[in-house]
Symmetry: C2
Subunit: 437 residues, 2 copies
């Protein structure tokens, strides 16, 4: 058997449903795809010429999938916190975005975010922001897998003076990344309440033309739901369904305030939900009914949302918080058990993005997006159960190696595709200007 990379000396958690941990295992990769998952001794002996990535006795598992974020908002990390939502947005975030978000600054913020994502074991991101073409170029350059959408809204954005201009940017984006191996373009209408029905439909038509994902914020706040019920007599989910724009290609972010009927609708239309537990708590949006979503058969993955409302892109931390949160609010300590959490972080996220045929598990034929977690620290000792370790004890700082489509992005905690020092310096320079505003 030929291969060009073997990740070895770890317990393989393939995250394939029903799979068992494979102790002393290894994963072999050729041309970016997994060609074998087997006992380490066997595999390394068979293929003596391949590059070796040593997991140091730790865990080897699929990379984490961040189903909703705004990467460039890392520049606004800690810029404004502990404020009422409307004040936070209208007096701090929007003015800063208007004044400082340009193609160059967005690229800086995106590269900073990519460094943070890779260090946190995130191998795929779904990003909604402005100047998405440039965002896609940065992510393609650093080697992250990504779905990127140009934020569309009925008001002028930093990138587009009108929704028509935003749709033109979206078409350009879709064309640019049409056959890219890692990055794909998507439509990103902001929310049901911030775009007219006709612009929502235009976005959906463009998504259909390119068979592209469509990401949208949905039912994030009680206010959004109440206003739509008052004005149109329907919930946000029902409104989008009535417009005919919900499909298996839709990625609905938040869905905090959804009714049982909404959940049935989302399940039936095969909409994927990106739940953002930390952002929803921090902004007091509420607690999304994730156990009910899963019960209803809705696809659910985790998202960090932007760093302005989190304040990191540490998806593992956010998933772990969800594992705890839902036990607390449901009243059942069996809610979101460890194994299920691991699947949601990986395969679940891939399903939400429509990428589960390519990533999300470590199985032969899948593309090789994976993470090695060290287990040498006190907080990882002892290690009675690898799934429990992942759900309750592992940390982003444990991430040793990260591979996307067979390319090593992080090796022994060193970023290989990003010049970290210059990236941090550039980000600090841009952020200092924000701070002087």
């Amino acid at each position: 058997m030929e291969c060009d990379l073997i990740i070895t000396n770890g317990t393989v958690l393939s995250m394939a449903p029903g799979s068992q941990p494979l102790a002393d295992g290894a994963v072999a990769v050729r041309d970016g795809r997994i060609v074998a998952v087997a006992a380490a001794a066997e595999l390394v002996e068979q293929v003596p010429t391949a590059s070796i990535l040593d997991a140091g006795g730790g865990l080897i598992l699929p990379g984490f999938v961040n189903t909703h974020t705004h990467l460039a908002m890392t520049l606004l990390r800690g810029f404004a916190d502990d404020l009422l939502l409307q004040e936070w947005l209208s007096q701090h975030i929007w003015p800063a975005e208007g004044a400082f978000m340009r193609p160059d600054t967005v690229a800086v913020g995106t590269r900073l975010a990519a460094a943070e994502c890779i260090r946190a074991g995130v191998t795929t991101v779904c990003d909604m922001y402005f100047f998405a073409l440039g965002i896609g170029e940065v992510l393609a350059d650093v080697g992250l897998r990504a779905v990127v959408g140009e934020g569309l809204i009925d008001h002028p954005t930093p990138a587009a003076p009108s929704p028509e201009a935003g749709l033109r940017l979206s078409r350009e984006l879709l064309q640019r990344f049409r056959s890219h191996p890692l990055v794909s373009g998507a439509l990103a209408p902001h929310a049901p309440y911030s775009l007219s029905a006709s612009n929502l439909v235009k976005a959906a038509e463009l998504a259909e033309e390119f068979d592209a994902p469509l990401m949208i914020h949905l039912a994030e706040t009680r206010k959004e739901v109440d206003e739509l019920l008052r004005d149109k007599g329907v919930t946000p989910a029902a409104y989008l369904a009535d417009l005919g724009i919900l499909s298996e290609r839709t990625i609905a972010a938040h869905c905090v305030h959804v009714s049982p009927d909404d959940l049935e609708l989302l399940a039936e239309l095969e909409v994927g939900v990106a739940t953002n537990p930390v952002s929803n708590l921090k902004l007091s949006s509420g607690v999304a009914p994730v156990p009910q979503m899963l019960e209803a058969g809705v696809k659910v993955g985790f998202g960090t949302d932007g760093a302005a409302s989190n304040n990191t892109l540490d998806l593992l931390r956010d998933a772990q918080l969800a594992a705890l949160l839902y036990k607390g609010v449901s009243g059942s300590p069996t809610c979101l058990p460890a194994r299920q959490l691991g699947e949601m972080l990986t395969l679940g996220g891939a399903r939400v993005l429509g990428l589960d045929n390519r990533i999300g598990t470590l199985e032969i034929g899948k593309e090789a997006d994976l993470v090695c977690l060290g287990v040498d620290a006190p907080h990882a000792t002892p290690l009675h159960d690898p799934y429990s370790h992942l759900a309750y004890a592992a940390r982003a700082a444990d991430v040793l190696h990260v591979v996307v489509r067979g390319r090593i992005l992080l090796q022994n905690r060193e970023l290989l595709t990003i010049d970290e020092r210059s990236t941090l310096t550039a980000a600090r320079r841009v952020a200092a200007a924000f701070g002087r505003r």
Copy 2:
């Protein structure tokens, strides 16, 4: 001015109420006490002979105070999760404790926990467990500040065949650490429901005799409250108050299910509350009314509880989770703002343990318990606000240096008072026996 250690090149967050961040600051220490907090340039020039600890441009702040834990339960990390409470305790935790917790294994688990605590920036722990004398010896040896209590219960424990024997062990503990500079003994009656009234009173009398703290689990579950209301017609807090055992020396852990009257009582009697947000969620105990406690003037600090119900001792993570959780459940994003959170992690915890005259802030005259946090990582970039950084973005992995009473326990992420490798090896060996049970 003479001193023997200067911690320099960082932004000093003294956490003294009303204090401002001191950029390019330094802290000077002599004989374990803080003798100056001033501009770095000034201080380093004045005292050219002192040892220098360089914070690398990061944050210098008081060490974190873990007000409730069971350190040796690190050995049971991930041993049994995602189970109903009664099944978890009676079929997994208690049998494992009964079979494996001995003076030697408890010492191993405690040393492992100490390594984890130090790496997480925790400088003070309040521990309730069995064989507390040995626990105190381990903590004194590694140089952590600690309040330790021998767990008292009406049934036989691994350390004491009877409550009388437990009280004898408690007296021995109090005598051993009577004038120790770091470790102090305490009484640790388990809970209102697990000890007779007369044994609760005996514990309180012994605490009074030694002017020692008394730690107790209080109102952790709805069941505990309902049963006491049914059997005695009072809440657990009122029951303890009626027995006359609540005082400013009491550390009440959990207090999840407390009424407004209970809170008034706790405030009036100056009882400190150790809130354990992660453990309370993981075991589905509920969400303690922390904002209401603060409103009522109750002293509140954070605790991790034991690693079997957390599954780490990462107090910063747990406090950050609380900052998010209470925003989400209160409906107000201004609840538990960043600065307040930093104070609760440090000074607040010190108040709960009755140590705020000695630690909790970086002020002249206080003992030098402090932490340096690096801010070089992508997740710490940019750094618009140091309090926000601490509350929402900093990680245990950012902890560079840790000092307790002027002694360096961690330097450039290396443990100086614990042989980490042999500690981890010993813990794995003991835990393997648990696993084979």
